[in-house]
């Protein structure tokens, strides 16, 4: 104890005082726990312990199924249904840095070693300043299972230093505690396949419905990226040869990289087997981009099952899920356009519950995705379902039948989820609507021809547009070359932006994750780091924004109208993001 107090003294008076007080109090508190060794329950299989531990860690649910109780800020009892360990220490358990609070790692690897927090900005800033309010423990010896239990119950490290108020205190039973500790020991303990201190292995996925041109548009930026990484690695090796010693950041920023191309052929049902074969032959750390014209779901599900990060594939059919973890998408594809129309209509003062709305959906995958997005948000807004008709492309072009439909339903709002074949008939259809009737269409589905909407009806046609509208100041190729603002134009309709989007995902988001991963080569950690990024402004979208669990980084979609002329200006009627 004397030695302990002396150790504290080297730091400051007040800590010493607290240790002294703790020296008296803690043994009393611990008397009930003193003889347990937190041995994992012998009546449970290892797999079961891991499952129960993971549930405690991620969802705050006890092995009994009850919600974990916790004390935060000293004495506030809060259910762990509100937040769990992973809310702060993140899924991989390597901790986080947000809002000036450092949350340290909580995986066995790190806990059972001495810890010294690198001096941070906050340690020297003014004491009343931003980064001081939740200073963490600077240095501590390794934990044991016993001292870990104490840490979680009472908020003290092995030497008795008291944690700040951000870390809650968890009054768990010995048995539950031993399950949680076993989980922490297993958490991020083995590096994920496909990465080493010297190399990252990546793959990209291309399905056989993709044109040669689109394929090249994807591979060009990917291969450039890999070549850059390898070239930098070469330069770094020379640097070492000349006798320079690298900083910590540098040691981890340089790794060589490889890229496999996983070509998927034939029907989507056969993709999982093909993916497994590729993966087993050469496991990769992450899938970098990819492209398909079909539903991405089979690939999404494969990555989810393998716990394999899949970073920003080019697809119009992402899986829209609030809980899936492993695939990052640019946005929700067509679903997002459908959602935008629902949000826009919901905020129009002129639209009441009585307003007749008719949704006509072309019987296709695109039409269905658009309609699904609309339906979901319309329901969230607690609106009554709208009349929806699904028609084949022939039916859509049958002018008499369409006239009849419109006469029958008399819609004031007509949503047309169709392709551009219908455009020549648009003025005739609009003529059948009431004077103020609005028509909604998808620029994604109409493609290039969107600009060909007849000038006479442009004021009646509302178009979804999920891309940037404000001028972009920056580089098209991911460097620092451009200073001249890049303006959006009607020529962008139908452009899939494969290369520019892939450059943005590589240079503006993925690279940051790879550089900050250091020697913590866990896939979940890569996703955690990427989710804690600051917002970025990119060429094709107004903004990418992140956050734990957020997987669709571009959140917006404008509703626009076309101005006059052959190269009409794009006129926004809504904000980028609507609520």
């Amino acid at each position: 104890m004397k030695a302990l107090i002396r150790y504290k003294f080297a730091h400051c008076f007040r800590v010493a005082l607290r240790s002294a007080v703790l020296a008296i109090l803690l043994p009393l508190l611990f008397s009930t726990f003193a003889h347990t060794e937190f041995i994992p329950p012998t009546d449970l299989s290892h797999a079961e312990i891991m499952r129960l531990g993971e549930r405690m860690y991620r969802q705050g649910i006890l092995p009994s199924g009850k919600v974990m109780e916790t004390f935060i800020r000293g004495d506030v009892a809060v259910d762990s249904s509100a937040f769990s360990c992973s809310s702060c220490h993140l899924r991989a358990g390597l901790g986080s840095f947000e809002g000036g609070v450092v949350t340290p790692p909580t995986n066995g690897n790190k806990l059972y070693k001495p810890y010294r927090r690198p001096p941070s900005f906050g340690d020297v800033a003014d004491r009343a300043g931003r980064f001081i309010y939740a200073k963490t423990v600077v240095e501590r010896p390794p934990y044991t299972r016993e001292t870990l239990a104490t840490a979680m119950r009472f908020g003290t490290d092995p030497t008795g230093q008291v944690f700040n108020d951000v870390m809650p205190r968890y009054p768990l039973t010995d048995r539950d505690m031993s399950i949680l500790i076993s989980y922490l020991e297993a958490l991020s303990s083995e590096p994920s396949p496909g990465a080493s201190s010297k190399q990252f292995k990546f793959a990209t996925i291309i399905t056989d419905d993709v044109s040669q041109e689109d394929r090249q548009a994807l591979l060009l930026p990917l291969q450039t990226f890999i070549a850059q990484k390898n070239q930098q690695m070469g330069m770094f090796n020379d640097f070492i040869k000349f006798g320079y010693s690298p900083t910590i950041d540098m040691q981890f920023a340089f790794r060589s990289a490889s890229l496999d191309i996983w070509e998927l052929k034939g029907p989507p049902e056969s993709w999982p087997a093909q993916l497994s074969a590729y993966y087993n032959a050469n496991p990769v750390f992450a899938v970098l981009g990819g492209i398909s014209n079909s539903d991405w779901r089979p690939i999404h599900e494969f990555c989810e099952a393998q716990r394999l990060p899949c970073l920003f594939p080019i697809t119009d059919f992402p899986v829209v899920s609030e809980s899936d973890w492993y695939t990052y998408y640019f946005n929700k594809g067509y679903t997002q356009e459908g959602e935008a129309v629902a949000r826009y209509l919901n905020r129009q003062e002129t639209i009441s519950t009585e307003t007749p709305v008719l949704q006509i959906v072309q019987d296709s995958q695109v039409g269905k995705a658009l309609a699904a997005g609309f339906r979901k948000v319309w329901k969230e807004c607690e609106r009554q379902e709208v009349t929806t008709l699904t028609l084949s492309s022939q039916q859509l072009l049958d002018q008499t039948a369409m006239d009849k439909l419109l006469t029958k339903h008399k819609p004031e709002v007509l949503i047309l989820w169709t392709d551009a074949e219908l455009l020549p008939n648009l003025p005739a259809l609009i003529a059948k609507l009431p004077a103020k009737g609005m028509v909604f269409v998808s620029s994604g589905y109409l493609g290039k021809k969107t600009a060909a909407i007849a000038e006479s009806v442009r004021e009646r046609v509302y178009i979804t547009y999920p891309y940037r509208l404000t001028p972009y100041v920056g580089s098209k190729v991911g460097g620092f070359d451009a200073k001249v603002p890049i303006l959006p134009s009607s020529k962008d309709f139908g452009n899939r932006r494969i290369t520019s989007r892939s450059i943005a995902m590589l240079q503006q988001t993925t690279l940051q994750g790879l550089n900050l991963i250091y020697d913590n080569l866990y896939r979940d950690h890569l996703l955690d780091i990427m989710s804690m990024q600051m917002d970025v402004t990119v060429l094709d979208y107004e903004r990418f924004s992140f956050g734990p669990g957020q997987r669709y980084v571009s959140k917006g979609c404008y509703i626009i109208q076309l101005g006059p002329g052959l190269d009409p200006p794009l006129l926004p009627l809504s904000d980028w993001v609507m609520h």
Binding site: L17, G74, D75, V78, S81, S96, K135, N164, M532, S545
Partner: protein, 194 residues
């Protein structure tokens, strides 16, 4: 930096500190929050609450009961749980009497925080009526943050802040940092005093 220290004086130092212990909060780093009294001009913006309803911020804040404002977001780690735990606790201490305080959380992630996300957040914390979570256009949210001298350019670098509006004169108590529950309750009571 090891300071040799005679054991006997250590004893006295401890004795001395034990005497003054009750008035010092036992924080790890022992850093107290920063408190100041401010006047804010609340901009006339319309925001959207967790039910998707439009609300005029000015009319929400100009109230006869104390109003507390903080800035959080739906997927935030670390600080928001602590701030929101403070709200939860205050609601409990005041016995669900939502006539005693109006709690307002304003999102700093307006792109992701839709009414649906905000409603789920409040549900997770078992918020009682009287705690509203507001979103809006990015421009409006920026205006509000600026009005409170709390402009946060990026949500990842935000900081813990509570502002309590005193009904008696419309001034605000600005509280920077993480308070213990006792301190928070105390601040609330001081703000309520006539």
């Amino acid at each position: 930096m090891r300071i040799p220290f005679p054991r006997i004086s250590l004893f006295f130092v401890i004795l001395l500190f034990v005497c003054i212990l009750p008035v010092r909060p036992t924080h790890a780093a022992d850093i107290k929050y920063k408190r100041s009294i401010e006047k804010y001009n609340i901009p006339d913006v319309v925001l959207i609450n967790q039910d998707g309803k439009k609300v005029r911020l000015q009319s929400l804040l100009n109230s006869d009961i104390p109003v507390i404002v903080d800035f959080i977001y739906g997927t935030c780690t670390t600080i928001c749980p602590v701030l929101s735990a403070g709200y939860v606790n205050l609601q409990r201490k005041l016995d669900a009497d939502n006539q005693k305080v109006r709690l307002i959380s304003i999102t700093i992630d307006p792109e992701n925080d839709s009414p649906k996300v905000m409603k789920e957040y409040l549900k997770r914390y078992r918020a009682k009526p009287g705690w509203d979570f507001l979103t809006g256009s990015r421009a409006d949210i920026d205006t509000v943050m600026r009005a409170f001298n709390a402009y946060i350019p990026d949500k990842m670098s935000h900081y813990p802040l509570n502002m309590i509006r005193m009904p008696k004169n419309g001034n605000w108590v600005r509280l920077f940092g993480l308070m213990s529950t006792k301190e928070f309750l105390n601040e609330y009571q001081m703000a309520t005093a006539k």
